[in-house]
Amino acid sequence: MNQNDFLNELENIDLSKYKGVIKIIVGILIVGFTASTSVFTVDPEEKAVVLRFGKVVGPPVGPGYHFKLPFFIEQEYKVPVQRQLTLQFGFRTQSDQGMQESPLQQSYEDLISESLMVTGDLNVANIEWVTLYTISDPVKYRFRVRNVDQTFRDMNEAVMREVVGDRTINEVLTIGRSEIIDKVLTKLQLLADEYSLGIVVDQVILQDVNPPASVKPAYDSVNEAQQEMDTTIQKAKKEYNDVIPKAEGSAIGTVTTAEGYKIKRVNEAKGAASQFTQVFEEYLKAPEVTRQRIYLETMTTIYQAVDQKIIIDENANGLLPLLNIPAKDK
């Protein structure tokens, strides 16, 4: 305290000379001190809890200027209720808001043990996630639980493992994701209420869900094999589809050709039959003449057509060996 020095100085100074000035200065000091301890500002994202002699008075107040009783009779504690707070698990892109110690300097080992967890089929999954939350009750947040953020971090890890522990690795890696998110969020909120943390869990986001790093290539190779299986089968199917419709078409073609043949054959037969019948009817009118005529007509055609003709008398024999039969070279 400088009060003694202050008093000494007061003795040394000719008070009557400065009396007025001192009075003014002291007055200003007192007024200033009183004023500065009886006003406080709340930022737009905050709410303030006011404590009178350590005890909460009234509901928390919103943004703006506020009056309070001076000289630390009333004190305000500001809590950022509008700010969405983030906790990251298994990775860090930024230091967690609201955390006292910056977890940025976490080692890889720490991070990996944060995200590795045993699944319900006793396999291991590597799950990285983010939880977003906001402070809903400044009094609870500030005065019921110490270090809410660390508490909430522990809860997150416990709850996520509890949920993942009831699922197979296949569920975790594939279809179970949104269900896991729902479950974790619900459980976290229940637990947060049970612990009186004064927070609302807004969102749980599964960032990266993987098998452990050393197992991942094996998982990838399964995906590859699955794709390979699909393409192999697709290829065979395609070949089937390439060949079969064509074969079906050509089968129809074959049958249709046969049908065409049938039509042709029958028509030809009908035509020939009709022709024959007509000629035959004429023939019946004069059989001998017609027959002779046809015979002779045919012979005419034949004899005209053939170049070489040899006529042998029926009584002549042994002529054949002498005949020079031309080689067929044409």
């Binding site: 590795l116 319900g120 660390q150 508490t151 006529i311």
Partner: protein, 323 residues
């Protein structure tokens, strides 16, 4: 005037100091009690507010009223089925009786180490009495299979393991068991949970190897399935081809047969109307055949004996008798 004002100032100052040291504030997050020369005075002040004490002689001891964290050190335990796991736990606790707490433990550091001794021990005991799956599973449920899952033939290792008690019940047991033990320190244990349970490094490596082997098996199964599927389609293709082609051939033969049969029937009907028709048909057909068979390249050796030359020979043509 000078003396009176100094005396007045001193008086005011003294009064302020006196008032200041005989009042104390217990804040919302605290509880406190007063000690006089080390001896506890009266009841602890659990509610926040302004309180009075004797100046100078009385000390105020303040303690947290809020729920506090306890974070267990990760430690290795062996489960009943002989698996070494690293287990990390946390608990929530409160200073329930500040006087008892002060007398027995003095401060939070001591409290934490006491909690560690009790909870770590209880955890290790509980873990050793249960199989690994008991601290992993918590709620009975049916596994959901992917709709498009090709993994229907996957074996037991991919299935949820059965359990009896489960994680929740075991941690609740530890809580229930430890609660009375810390009560004598003025501590109220609110909750206890398993935070992390992981395989120890050695077990984990073995587990990873198993997972890899498992995956390799599945990959091989997929490849084999792919080849099987392709072979199936190939077979189907060949079968279909054979079916389609043979059916077509069959139909073709049937139709052509029908065609030939029908044509034959038509011919037969026309040509065998009467014996004359038959004979005439044979004659015409013979003539046609001659015409077709013989061409300019052929040589024709004709005997005068032939019917054609009948006239040439006899000059008395008569109609030829039917053959």
């Amino acid at each position: 005037m000078k003396n009176t004002s100094i005396a007045l100032a001193s008086l005011v100052l003294l009064a302020t100091i006196l008032a200041y040291s005989s009042m104390y504030v217990v804040s919302e997050q605290e509880q406190a009690f007063v000690t006089r020369f080390g001896k506890i005075q009266g009841e602890p002040k659990i509610k926040p507010g302004l309180y009075f004490k004797l100046p100078f002689t009385d000390d105020v001891r303040r303690f947290e009223r809020r729920t506090l964290e306890w974070d267990g050190r990760p430690s290795e335990s062996i489960t009943q089925d002989k698996k070494t796991i690293r287990i990390d736990t946390y608990a929530r606790w409160q200073i329930d009786d500040p006087i008892l707490f002060f007398e027995k433990l003095k401060d939070e550091d001591f409290a934490r180490s006491r909690l560690s001794a009790i909870l770590d021990g209880a955890t290790r005991t509980a873990v050793s009495k249960h199989a690994l799956v008991e601290v992993i599973r918590s709620v009975p449920r049916e596994e959901v299979l992917a709709v498009d899952s090709n993994q229907t033939t996957m074996d037991q290792e991919q299935k949820l393991h059965e359990f009896i008690k489960g994680r929740q019940k075991i941690s609740d047991e530890i809580l229930r068991e430890s609660k009375p033990k810390v009560l004598e320190f003025g501590i109220k244990l609110l909750d206890f949970r398993f935070k992390r349970i992981n395989y120890s490094e050695k077990v984990q490596a073995a587990q990873f190897t198993r997972m890899i082997a498992e995956r390799d098996k599945i990959a091989a199964e997929f490849r084999s399935k792919g080849q099987g599927g392709a072979a199936e389609w190939l077979g189907r293709k060949l079968k279909e081809l054979d079916r389609i082609n043979s059916e077509a051939t069959l139909l073709e033969k049937v139709i052509r047969g029908e065609a030939d049969a029908e044509a034959a029937q038509i011919y037969a009907e026309a040509y065998s109307k009467s014996p004359e028709a038959q004979e005439f048909y044979r004659f015409i057909k013979t003539m046609e055949t001659y015409e077709k068979v013989l061409s300019e390249k052929d040589m024709l050796i004709l005997s005068t004996k032939s019917e054609f030359f009948n006239f040439l020979r006899e000059m008395n043509p008569t109609p030829a008798a039917p053959k």
